[in-house]
């Protein structure tokens, strides 16, 4: 019962924050709201007994990725004109309508199973120890591949943002 109450609190805050992300005109507000949304979702991860991932969500997503986004936002330092005006275009209305229709259909499909009895989990489900065990045994190869991916991303980011010789800036 208390879990359901907390779930609805965090779910409501996640949805409100997400709405702020897409509707705020200033990207800084969007980024701040996105951090709030990610933290709320991390709380829901805890309720779903995914403790390691809740931790990683806070550290990696809300910490590292969003700090990077904020850095870039402040680096670019967009002026009021560059942010653009709030306009209602045909494309926007169509896009929002289509997405709304999709979400409504999927939600109706999912709510058929509302209040399904909760399954009982074995102790240790989702803890660092248990997830770590399968990560380093069964899924060792994907884990190593993902480290290669990160290396490629680091090199790519450095190469892309490097100033070229004789660039004049």
């Amino acid at each position: 019962m208390i879990q359901a109450i907390f779930f609805y609190i965090f779910a409501a805050s996640a949805v409100v924050m997400a709405l702020v992300v897409v509707s705020a005109r200033n990207p800084i507000y969007s980024a701040a709201a996105l951090i709030g949304c990610l933290l709320s979702v991390a709380c829901i991860f805890v309720l779903q007994s995914a403790h390691l991932l809740a931790l990683l969500q806070v550290l990696v997503y809300a910490g590292a990725i969003m700090v990077l986004v904020l850095f870039v936002l402040m680096l670019l330092n967009l002026s009021r004109d560059e942010l653009g005006r709030r306009r209602i275009t045909v494309r926007r209305v169509t896009g929002v309508y289509l997405v709304g229709a999709l979400v409504t259909l999927m939600t109706i499909r999912f709510t058929k199973h509302l209040w399904a009895p909760a399954v009982s989990l074995e102790p240790g489900f989702g803890t660092i120890e248990e997830v770590g065990k399968i990560l380093y045994t069964k899924y060792l190869l994907p884990f190593e591949m993902v480290s290669l991916l990160l290396l490629a991303a680091i090199i790519g980011a450095v190469v892309l943002t490097r100033k070229e010789k004789g660039d004049g800036r």
Binding site: A4, F7, A11, A18, L19, V21, V22, P27, A31, L34, L38, V41, I44, F45, Q48, S49, A50, L53, Q57, V60, Y61, A64, I65, L68, V69, V72, L73, L75, L76, L78, E82, L83, R91, R92, G95, L98, V99, G100, L102, V103, M106, T107, F110, H113, L114, A118, V119, E122, F125, G126, V131, I134, L135, P142, V146, L149, L150, G156, A157, L160
Partner: protein, 98 residues
């Protein structure tokens, strides 16, 4: 609390997708992308719990890593484009338009 989480995941994904379509600021579009990836993560966690199988957690781990890599490279591209064209509005970045 199982399909409630799926509904929440769907709503978050929808908000992210709507923002992805409607917004023209490149960085906000990237943030909407993060929102959608996060909604997918939530669905993975929920299915993982329903089936009492931690493979979903591994998937979420991988998605987070990919999101980090994507954010790094995409923001580098945004910085690069801003330096060259002084614009982050996706409508103004039409160099490759046929």
């Amino acid at each position: 609390m199982t399909s409630e989480t799926l509904v929440l995941s769907m709503i978050l994904f929808g908000i992210g997708a709507a923002g992805f379509v409607a917004r023209r600021n490149a960085i906000v579009v990237l943030m909407c992308l993060e929102l959608m990836l996060n909604a997918a993560n939530l669905a993975f966690i929920d299915f993982s719990r329903q089936h009492m199988n931690m493979t979903g957690h591994i998937y979420v781990f991988m998605i987070m890593t990919v999101a980090a890599a994507e954010a790094a490279v995409a923001l580098a591209i945004v910085v690069r484009i801003f330096r060259a064209r002084k614009a982050v509005n996706l409508d103004e970045i039409n160099l490759m338009k046929g």
